[in-house]
């Protein structure tokens, strides 16, 4: 199984039936994989904050979901996560590329890379970075932990993990 297949399998174990996404190139293979699953309703959106809101609305009615986006998108929707999810105590699991790290040589990711983790720490949002294929098995425990945390929870896909699948 490749990396998207492994992640997909673990999300299925979690009971995820809704995925809202806006791609960057690192998370695109996962999005394609989720979109091809007839048991998962996949909602492509026009801006990342919609993924947060859709998953948040679905949570109110008991549906398990995941938001998928790139690092720049995460930075763009931090206000929505603060004012809806933190204020209302609503969890949302966000699967996000971790761009701007030493393995990422795209100059347009450099600023995000320096600020992503400090931003999450400032907003007191938990995060876990998946570094190697074995880490993917942690997704069910992370998903449960995200529900208990009642706030946005970031699950980062690192370059090292995604390269391991090549």
């Amino acid at each position: 199984m490749d990396i998207p297949e492994l992640i997909h399998a673990e999300l299925t174990k979690c009971g995820v039936t809704l995925a809202a996404s806006l791609p960057d190139d690192w998370v695109s293979p996962l999005i394609r994989r989720l979109a091809a699953d007839p048991k998962i309703k996949h909602v492509p959106v026009g801006r990342e904050a919609e993924t947060i809101a859709i998953c948040t609305g679905a949570f109110l009615a008991g549906v398990k979901s995941v938001a998928v986006m790139g690092t720049t998108g995460l930075h763009s929707c931090i206000g929505e996560m603060m004012t809806i999810n933190l204020r209302h105590g609503i969890p949302v699991l966000v699967i996000c590329s971790l761009r701007g790290t030493p393995e990422d040589h795209q100059v347009y990711q450099e600023q995000q890379g320096r600020r992503t983790i400090p931003m999450l720490q400032a907003y007191d949002m938990p995060y876990v970075a998946l570094e190697k294929p074995e880490d993917i098995q942690r997704i069910p425990e992370i998903y449960t932990h995200s529900r208990l945390q009642k706030r946005p929870y970031l699950l980062f896909l690192t370059r090292r993990l995604l390269r391991a699948g090549k």
């Binding site: 809704l18 809202a20 309703k41 909602v43 492509p44 959106v45 026009g46 801006r47 904050a49 919609e50 947060i52 809101a53 859709i54 998953c55 948040t56 609305g57 679905a58 949570f59 109110l60 009615a61 008991g62 549906v63 979901s65 206000g79 929505e80 004012t83 809806i84 204020r87 209302h88 105590g89 609503i90 009642k150």
Partner: protein, 190 residues
């Protein structure tokens, strides 16, 4: 139309089994003041995500109609979400906009394009099968009734009069408490 009359007309004609997502500002406060029987979730800021929040609720409750009650400023900030809604092919979401062309609670500043836009035309362009603007007070209740009878995706923008809109007192419950209350009622069949 006076905003309270709009709220009363919605309450009068809305299916008792519908779920309601109320955004923020005076549209939401007007709906809350009706003390309607329909189970309602009251959002807060930020502006611009009410359509997506209601979409998530509608996707999760496909057998129930979901009505979004939203102010024009909130709606405009997330207007691209109409395309997301249409892309999902759901049929159980209706959007009713309190449209006075202003950011009312923030100080009544004009919305961009306030003198020229048609939310109905924008919604039709996005692919909504039913979309209407109603600016005539005498026709408004009939338009609300007709809108709420639609079998699929529908949008109605109701022209609302300018009225004072003071900030409300602190609510009885914090949002976390309201959320818990809502989910409990929904889980128990409300």
């Amino acid at each position: 139309m006076k905003r309270d009359l709009c709220g009363k007309a919605i309450k009068k004609h809305l299916n008792p089994d519908s779920l309601v997502y109320a955004g923020l500002g005076t549209a939401s406060r007007t709906w809350r003041a009706q003390e309607a029987s329909q189970l309602t979730y009251y959002g807060t800021d930020p502006m611009g995500i009410s359509v997506s929040m209601a979409l998530g609720l509608a996707l999760a409750q496909p057998k129930r109609d979901v009505l979004l009650v939203v102010g024009d400023g909130d709606f405009m900030m997330g207007i691209g979400s109409l395309l997301t809604v249409v892309g999902t092919k759901i049929q159980n979401l209706k959007i009713l906009i309190f449209d006075n062309g202003r950011y009312e609670t923030g100080g009544s500043q004009l919305l961009p394009g306030a003198d020229s836009y048609s939310f109905a035309a924008i919604a039709r362009g996005a692919g909504f099968a039913y979309a209407a603007d109603v600016r005539d007070d005498a026709a408004a209740e009939g338009a609300i009734q007709e809108f709420l009878k639609q079998p699929g995706l529908a949008l109605l923008a109701v022209r609302i009069d300018m009225e004072p809109s003071p900030y409300p007192p602190a609510p009885a419950m914090a949002q976390v408490e309201e959320r818990t209350h809502f989910m409990g009622r929904l889980h128990n069949g409300a």
